[in-house]
Amino acid sequence: MTKELLISSCQQLLSGFEFTLGIFAFTLIFSLPLGLLVARGRMSKNIVVASLVRFYISVMRGTPLMLQLLLVYYGPYYLFGTSTGGIKIGPFNYRFIAAIIGFSLNYAAYFAEIFRGGIQSMPKGQYEAAQVLGFTKSQTYFKIILPQVIKRVLPSVANEVITLVKDTSLAQVLSVSEMFFIASSLASKQVSIMPFLVAGLFYYIMNALIEMMITKIEKKMSYYS
């Protein structure tokens, strides 16, 4: 493999990395708040809501993410006969949008269970102390409960975030030109495993940076126990 080839491969992989990063960032932006909402639904006193949410979580965790991505992408066509080819939001085509929707729905289910565990691990006394001090329900939630829950769930959320970096490669089934998709096509063109190894290195560097960030956040939150 010549030096020029390696450099041009890297450049192409990095252009794919933009999509990888895009999927990663958008998925987190949507799935974290959605997960919080789903967790609330799962803990709802309304049996209908709780059961529906429980079913949703069960399906999301119990079927392959790759299948879910395919269903989001092809679903509109098979269900309603809608052509999705023309759909665009800003610079993003429906392939990319479907990937974001699929990933967000799936990760929200995992995050929801993590959040539920965190919220349910909070001692009752925290709610009671807040109540007798006159805090409203939303003040109690946002000032007292949520900040403590975030600290408790951080290690588990970090696990999911790191998994997400690698899972973005599943978007290749929708022909989103993310890094792994590019690596595959380069590898078959060059008849070499090299592009895969370089891609692997990029995934690893990204996750190493994420680990560093999480360690920093954990340190910042360690002022109390």
Binding site: E128, Q131, L133
Partner: protein
């Protein structure tokens, strides 16, 4: 009804599922009075306190705190105050928990000032002033910026007393304030409560510290089996109990 009554509880009934925990309790606490509630575990003391502090809802009866009706019977049905009224009533009493229930992610200062600022609408400066005064009183003036996890149990409990006092309530409830503390740490907490008593703070104290109850309380209420078995002036009740059950209970101390 006595105009000076800060807490009025009338014919309070409370059941958990099939278990009747409070079987028609009547209790009135006047301004400046210190009432200790004693009795065996499961006798209903803590439940009574939790009902008075809105943490549990009663099944029937009437509760008035500082002149505001928390709940009363409307014919056969029990009616609680609406949300706004409830919030107002909650600012008129303080509650000190057995296991403190401080907010671990807040500094001592924020534990005390947060509700002053965000519930009572005080300015930051006002709240900080109140906080500094209270910490001085609790002997914790150098702990404002500490976090609860760096304090001893006794110090944490004193912070939680300061938190309960911050809104300048008409009455403070203590739910076994020293039960979670090592014996050598209870002293400081009891001293603080004793000081409050000498300032004629109205207090209801659920406690197992019999000597303390005898010395500090004006009146002792002995509860067992969901009823008030006996009540009277603190010293008399401890030294010369009338009911056989009170005698048996006190003999254990």
């Amino acid at each position: 009804m006595n105009n000076d009554a800060i807490l009025v509880m009338e014919n309070i009934h409370k059941s958990f599922d099939d278990l009747e925990v409070l079987k028609g309790i009547d209790l009135t606490v006047n301004r400046g009075e210190v009432v200790a509630v004693i009795g065996p575990s499961g006798g209903g003391k803590s439940t009574l306190l939790r009902c008075a502090t809105t943490l549990e809802k009663i099944d029937s009866g009437r509760i008035v705190i500082a002149g505001d009706t928390l709940c009363e019977m409307d014919g056969e049905k029990l009616k609680y105050a609406d949300k706004a009224r409830l919030r107002h009533i909650r600012s008129r009493f303080g509650l000190v928990f057995q296991n403190f229930n401080l907010f671990p992610h807040f500094s001592v200062r924020r534990n005390i000032t947060e509700s002053l600022i965000h519930v009572l609408g005080k300015t930051k400066d006002e709240a900080n002033g109140i906080c500094d005064d209270l910490l001085l009183k609790m002997g914790l003036q150098d702990k404002a910026d500490s976090y609860p996890c760096n304090l001893s149990g006794g110090q944490q409990q004193r912070v939680s007393i300061a938190r309960a006092l911050a809104a300048n309530p008409d009455i403070i409830f203590f739910d076994e304030p020293t039960s979670a503390l090592d014996p050598e740490l209870t002293k400081g907490v009891l001293e603080v409560i004793r000081d409050l008593a000498s300032e004629h703070m109205t207090m209801v104290i659920v406690t197992h510290e019999m000597t303390f109850a005898r010395d500090v309380a004006d009146r002792i209420v002995f509860m067992d089996g969901g009823v008030i078995v006996e009540e009277g002036p603190a010293y008399d009740l401890v030294t010369n109990p009338k009911s056989q059950r009170t005698k048996e209970f006190l003999a254990g101390y």
